[in-house]
Symmetry: C2
Subunit: 358 residues, 2 copies
């Protein structure tokens, strides 16, 4: 109620200083918690701060330091639950440490990814959490390296020779999926994915294949991948089914693939798990309310975010040493979309009231 200035200009440190009858330097020290200030002066500073409603301008405050209290986050997209949660977590963790998070979406484009990174470099961010579009060997990581930026790579990475990496343990999770599917008696399994994300997808694929073959050397594993977008994947899948292939289970290595698989199933009038079983990498809220509920690999978002921030701040504070590559364990949620083969009519629809096509 003792406000004297209009809503236009905010009080600066000098306003506080003159109100408290001290210098700006003293105000700065008091607020920074320096103890070599006479208690009565400190009190007058606190009073003035209170009276004026003074708050430090983070922009001005950051001017004089080389590493600013800003963390950049670059995600391939914001539309999925995974990256949405990731940004939420990262933002909270940055805030806890008094940092501001600036997040941007590369929209699955490596070109844009690098542009964003360059802009963050302009801001002299203290560090970057980068979830690369492709993998750890893209132009963005190279840019960071070339410019001596500190950062952590997450999600679509395995390990790097310059940056700490944190990602879900895709291989282990895929192996578990394999155990479960083989355990249910599946002997012909189709794996679908996008090959672009190289390292990660390969890890998932190999983790799955190795475990499946170890448990049942006679298992048949088909693989369909597409290079760029999901549409080619969709048509490949359609062709695959059209030429009579009838796997008893599908394991999708990514969320969009799960959606494609589901829509192709419904196009053919197949139901899970009687006609075919389905497991997808990446969980989503809707998967537990659909009928049937979709089995999925749940990525440990909080752990990845938390570990990434820990590693990042360690580097920001000057830690040296070889980069670490962390793999956080996933959880496999078996739901109704997975069953044993042959327990239901394995044919093209007809026994349902739903129309096979929309």
């Amino acid at each position: 109620m003792a406000q004297q200035e209009g809503p236009q200009r905010r009080p600066s440190i000098h306003d506080v200083a003159s109100h408290a009858g001290v210098s700006a330097a003293t105000v700065s020290k008091v607020l920074a918690g320096v103890t070599t200030v006479r208690p009565e002066n400190a009190q007058r500073v606190f009073d003035a701060v209170e009276l004026l409603g003074y708050r430090v301008d983070p922009l001005a405050s950051d001017m004089r330091r080389a590493k600013r209290r800003i963390i950049g986050a670059i995600m391939p997209e914001f539309e999925s639950e995974f990256f949405g949660q990731m940004v939420t977590e990262l933002e909270g963790l940055a805030e806890q440490r008094g940092f501001t998070l600036v997040a941007a979406s590369s929209r699955e484009s490596e070109t844009r990814e690098k542009e964003i990174l360059a802009r963050m470099h302009d801001w002299r961010v203290a560090g970057v959490v980068l979830a690369p579009v492709r993998n750890e060997h893209g132009p963005a990581a190279a840019f960071m390296k070339a410019n001596g930026m500190t950062g952590v790579l997450i999600d679509r990475v395995l390990s790097d020779d310059a940056f700490d990496t944190v990602s879900a343990d895709s291989a282990a999770a895929s192996a578990e999926v394999a155990r479960m599917l083989i355990g249910k008696g599946h002997s012909h399994i189709l794996v679908i994915g996008l090959a672009e994300q190289a390292a990660t997808v390969r890890a998932r694929l190999e983790g799955f294949r190795a475990q499946a073959l170890a448990l049942d050397p006679s298992v048949r594993i088909d693989v369909i991948t597409s290079e760029v977008s999901v549409e080619p994947l969709r048509s490949s899948l359609r062709d695959y089914f059209a030429r009579g292939e009838r796997p008893t289970a599908v394991y999708s290595l990514l969320l969009k693939g799960t959606l494609v698989a589901l829509s192709e199933f419904r196009r053919r009038g197949w139901h899970c798990p009687n006609d075919i079983s389905l497991v997808g990498f990446d969980d989503a809220e809707w998967m537990q309310v659909t009928w049937p509920a979709i089995a999925a690999v749940v990525q440990p978002v909080r752990q990845i975010a938390s570990e990434a921030m820990n590693l990042l701040f360690r580097r920001v504070e000057g830690a040296v040493g070889p980069p670490t590559a962390r793999l956080e364990p996933c959880q496999v949620l078996m739901r109704e979309s997975v069953g044993s083969p042959g327990s239901g009519p394995h044919s093209g629809g007809g026994d349902r009231q739903m129309p096979p096509l929309s």
Copy 2:
């Protein structure tokens, strides 16, 4: 290849100035496009910029101006497709204008919302796009008002006496849903929602009710709302069904409600649209691949984002005048989850191979 400094310190405007043999002021003018500079000097500046790889430090650049080239965005959450797309759009639009977007999630908390806003005020952001947790009358909007901040309110708002507002035309969309449901012959409809978001939810509810009653005065419309979270809504819904209520259609006023409805349906072994029809406000990618596909109201995210940014920048550039309240038209996607009542067995499951409970 002509880099001379290590990856540590970046060149400043003074480095460029000395390389070009001019003053820093001249460099600044050249880069700002001022024409009163001798062409040859301008050229030397450009050459030096090129040679050193100089880029303006946005933080330092913003120091001297009252309104900084930063836009704040506050969303209730990042996990849903709607807000994910919204942030992506807003970020792109801000970037187009040379602004940096700082986004934060209020995590559905008005307290946090205000804290974030205060922090953005500390940054002296030029403007804020606020999607309030509750409605336009919350503490965050009051804070903006009290501090003379410029901003736009979106999504869970209708109109405000201080800020421009942009939201989906919920009422019109709901009226269209009513037309479609009544048109299909539904005469007992349940509407579910969260009452917290007052204005918006009320608009949706009233838009629906008015149109439904206009078309069929004898229609029975039940309403279940919950104040705070979705769990009370779930149990209310469960009670409602448990005491024998059998509406022929459910209209959910929000995405989470759609999920709750779906999970309660499957709990009881009901299938859409034979046992019950379902329409939800807010579309999601998965809704078109499930079986049945879920009918939904699609919000015009791009238009809302674009209009919000237009209005915001108009204000940032000093436009005065009474606030405008925009309503962007939605699209209603009728999908298989909606049918005519009585066209299928209306009872508790038993005719399916899926177990009713997970």
